[in-house]
Symmetry: C2
Subunit: 434 residues, 2 copies
Amino acid sequence: MSDDVITELAVHDVRFPTSRTLAGSDALNLDPDYSATYVVVRVGEDGPSGHGLAFTNGRGNEICVTAVEALRHHVVGRSLSGIFDDLNGFWRSLVRDTQLRWLGPEKGIMHMATAAIVNAVWDLEAKRQGLPMWKLLADMPPEQLIAAVEWSYLSDALTPEQALDLLRERREGMAEREEVLRRTGLPAYTTSAGWLGYGDDQMVELAREALDEGFTHLKMKVGGDPDDDLRRARLLREVIGPDNTLMMDANQRWDVGEAITRMRGLAEVRPWWIEEPTNPDDVLGHARIAEAIDPIVVATGENAHNRVMFKQLLQAGGMGIVQIDACRVAGVNEVLGVLLLAAAFDKPVCPHAGGVGLCEYVQHLAAFDYLCLSGTQEGRLVEYVDHLHEHFVDPVVAEGGRYRTPLEPGYSVELHPESITRYSFPHGAEWTTS
Amino acid sequence: MSDDVITELAVHDVRFPTSRTLAGSDALNLDPDYSATYVVVRVGEDGPSGHGLAFTNGRGNEICVTAVEALRHHVVGRSLSGIFDDLNGFWRSLVRDTQLRWLGPEKGIMHMATAAIVNAVWDLEAKRQGLPMWKLLADMPPEQLIAAVEWSYLSDALTPEQALDLLRERREGMAEREEVLRRTGLPAYTTSAGWLGYGDDQMVELAREALDEGFTHLKMKVGGDPDDDLRRARLLREVIGPDNTLMMDANQRWDVGEAITRMRGLAEVRPWWIEEPTNPDDVLGHARIAEAIDPIVVATGENAHNRVMFKQLLQAGGMGIVQIDACRVAGVNEVLGVLLLAAAFDKPVCPHAGGVGLCEYVQHLAAFDYLCLSGTQEGRLVEYVDHLHEHFVDPVVAEGGRYRTPLEPGYSVELHPESITRYSFPHGAEWTTS
């Protein structure tokens, strides 16, 4: 069993200087350097390695690295089979560390560091079994999936017994769906055209390119000057025509009343959803906005920091689209809980992606959701941004506006060793020679 | 103006080995080592220094220290007068750092690190003016207080104009109240008796001591075995008699339904409040519990991570007692916003204290609230725990169940240099010789 024990946990501070081009700029994130707190775990002496990351925006990535170090003693020395025999026990040992818990609880840097570790451990198991993450999850008995989730604080919305029933019911037709998935992949939408830092011409050109590539759903950033937002939105609607779908993202820019006013002003271009119209912690605010701007749907989740926030946003009617993120909540275990909540409340999951590694991650989560929970691709799209994929060993592939289903073993966020070296902060060549 | 520029920001990792005695143990924090991310700012070469801290539970304090370092560039080189001319501008520069913001936003480690810095800057200004913090705040024109608060995301509950009216209205009688404050201090309650790690005999003995010292309000920890909780609660009620007041603290132990059941089972001992009955992020859950267990009041706030959470808990009716914490939200600026919200919703403020330095901090906030907002001491108590005060240059003094009003300049959390040296982690004598 020596190759079953985790003997090593390494963590790297990897940063890509994306702020030099303003890709990824929005109303609140003006100059992101897409970065990763990158974790590698290893079993045995020459055993396989598992790779996980938490996405950050540049400065402060070193804080998240320090947080991973603080969690190391819960990981190194444990057996992988022991972890998978008691998945929630493992998760709790990280999240409920009796002293570290105060620093959250269950939010922010501690939770993101936990995500990087938890995801690396799942990646390792998937690689040992020779399965892509989505397939590892889909093949797990419903009982084991349920046992991976932390159920505390959820019982007023969903109990483990109800969730188990749901998973069992939805097994029907899974084999057929897997065949569809392998053949046709997953529907995607693109944010590449509509960044706030881009001029009108660049936006139009990129939108045309996206249409040519086969995208039918495009998202634009809003939250700037109202006239600018409307001009850009009209332009984009004109370019994509009446039959394609336009979505909007305000990146938390507005107060509650302002969000309502502003979205009424943009309703003429018929956006499907408005994403993060206000502060991500504001459950009651999201509910009020959703009620006021119907039929425009409120989408949120990339900054919903744990399962208790998702629970409330669903209970209150403030989350019409569930935008899970793979490494804001504490890794696969907590995402499973959120996917179960979304299914119980019958709300579509459209994962947040972009950044670095997020597309690689969430394709697996969306595939699992399709196979085991939603049972449909209708109204389910995965965000796609064509950026930084070249650094990954098994990058996502988008074709014709769809993600191709990943078939290599693991969770797909393993970086090329050269990329880690070159972009390590502050001593990598990219940071010392520029 | 050279003595107006902040030339130095030092940060220390200070930890007290409180887990050796189980003081401070509760349902979720089993073995805290009360710790401080301790910040010192200085102006000029031989100028005065300002001292602030963020309280943590031991492990992970180094992460918060790293977060302070990441914020240093927003502080060093700024003029103190410039900061106080635009208090919210200063706060925003820390909280809205375009790259660091992703790590919260506005929550967890980043927010706690910000609190330590912001509080140190206020301490420095109070010392330069020769005023205790409460007096610095009370003497500020209402316009300047309003200008210290970040108003985004609050307008659906309270606008700056409404808050300004409130502050102006409540000026009346302030001089008389200040006289009362200086003469009689502030009412306190004690948690010293009821820690979960203590046996029945120890609890009874400590409760008797507290009554002898003049306390009329005692709080006990609950959330253990139901029979144990009830036995301990009956015992405590018996010791304190029918006329004193008993409060309870569940430290987030229960799900929503469980909290309701458990508090109905404890209602016979007539607790005034139940504190943190469930997850601190669960706004809707707190509201449901509050409605179900009336007339027992729901108290929360020590883990409410920012003003948006306080806003919602008040809007939803889930926060009957507002338990502000001086360094979980981002320092004095954000606490001011929360105090204004509490006043607008007419809910009493009973600050969270204990730990290390929290009593020293919150006495100033409670005094300001009494002078400028609530106007009464009725139903307003400050938590008191008799622990670790000997490490402070100007420690709190409790007499006859009340805090004596602090009169020395500053915010009272300056540690003795010997305490910093001895308890610095990991190289201080306390950690190397034991």
